[in-house]
Symmetry: C2
Subunit: 175 residues, 2 copies
């Protein structure tokens, strides 16, 4: 374990997200989060005074990760559209995990989580519109990305989905 020495705070957020993704918010109890991060419950509550602060901390980190992702998307070698679609299927990255966790929380009627996701989506949309020069197409691509994400996180994944989408987009751009 000579890794990059992840801070306890980050390990707690990692554990929180992983539990939410794996078992839903029900499974992400304070005890479970502390145990998964190999920290005592007292230790968890030292960093995050309540479950709500844990959520807040997670969303804050997501926003930072999101800004970086939009940057990467903007300068992706194979183009923004392909970058967006490719990263819409869960690759298991930290960012994917944070995104799925936030979506789960958003569905529980948490306006802060919905807001964070909406802001992120706006960032992606801007880049998609710039690169396609077409609002309708940009929105449609974003919906396809959402669909890929949804399927992935609901156990409905289809390995060939991305190829089908690419085929259709190729036909469109041939116009």
């Amino acid at each position: 374990m000579a890794g990059p020495e992840r801070s306890t705070r980050d390990r707690l957020l990692d554990a929180f997200e992983t539990l939410i993704v794996g078992t839903g918010t029900r499974g992400a109890t304070l005890d479970a989060v502390a145990a998964a991060a190999e920290v005592s419950k007292g230790g968890l509550l030292y960093h995050f005074g309540s479950k709500d602060e844990l959520v807040e901390g997670m969303l804050e980190r997501l926003r930072r990760q999101g800004e970086q992702d939009v940057e990467k998307m903007r300068s992706a070698p194979n183009g923004a559209v392909d970058f967006y679609l490719e990263t819409s299927v869960d690759s298991g990255s930290d960012f994917d995990r944070a995104l799925i966790a936030a979506a789960r929380i958003a569905q529980e009627n948490e306006p802060r989580a919905s807001k964070a996701l909406a802001d992120l989506r706006e960032g992606w949309f801007e880049v998609l519109r710039e690169h396609t020069g077409d609002e309708s197409l940009a929105r449609t691509i974003q919906l396809i990305g959402d669909g890929l994400y949804f399927d992935d996180t609901t156990g409905l994944a289809d390995a060939n989905a991305l190829d089908h989408v690419r085929a259709v987009l190729r036909r469109l751009s041939a116009l």
Copy 2:
């Protein structure tokens, strides 16, 4: 209240779904479901011996509703594709509610819910492929539908989304 006399069983399932959709599975406690259905907790447990049986009952009803929906889609006057897209945004129907509730449960690592949804999606896909004669396009349309659903249930809805999709599809069919 001269209505069609919904059975207690159905009212319990209605309440269960409504609570899941509104507040996530956390909010759908036995007490809350019983109260919402205006039945005592004992009464609930008479019809569904455990929370698991409540889930089972819900999925069973969803399967029946799903079969009917595929029938309707098959013979929709404006075509199957438009029917599918239009019913992918939450109209507040019983079927929509059941579908959203099932998706929530599926995300909690419940293989039975994932299976029920996957079967349903297969039914829709068959019809989409028949009507488009194109597997890639059918899959892509299905992804767009999933995206519409996801956005709707995550508080990210965009009123014009459907119009943008229609515009893109029109361009495609012009080929």
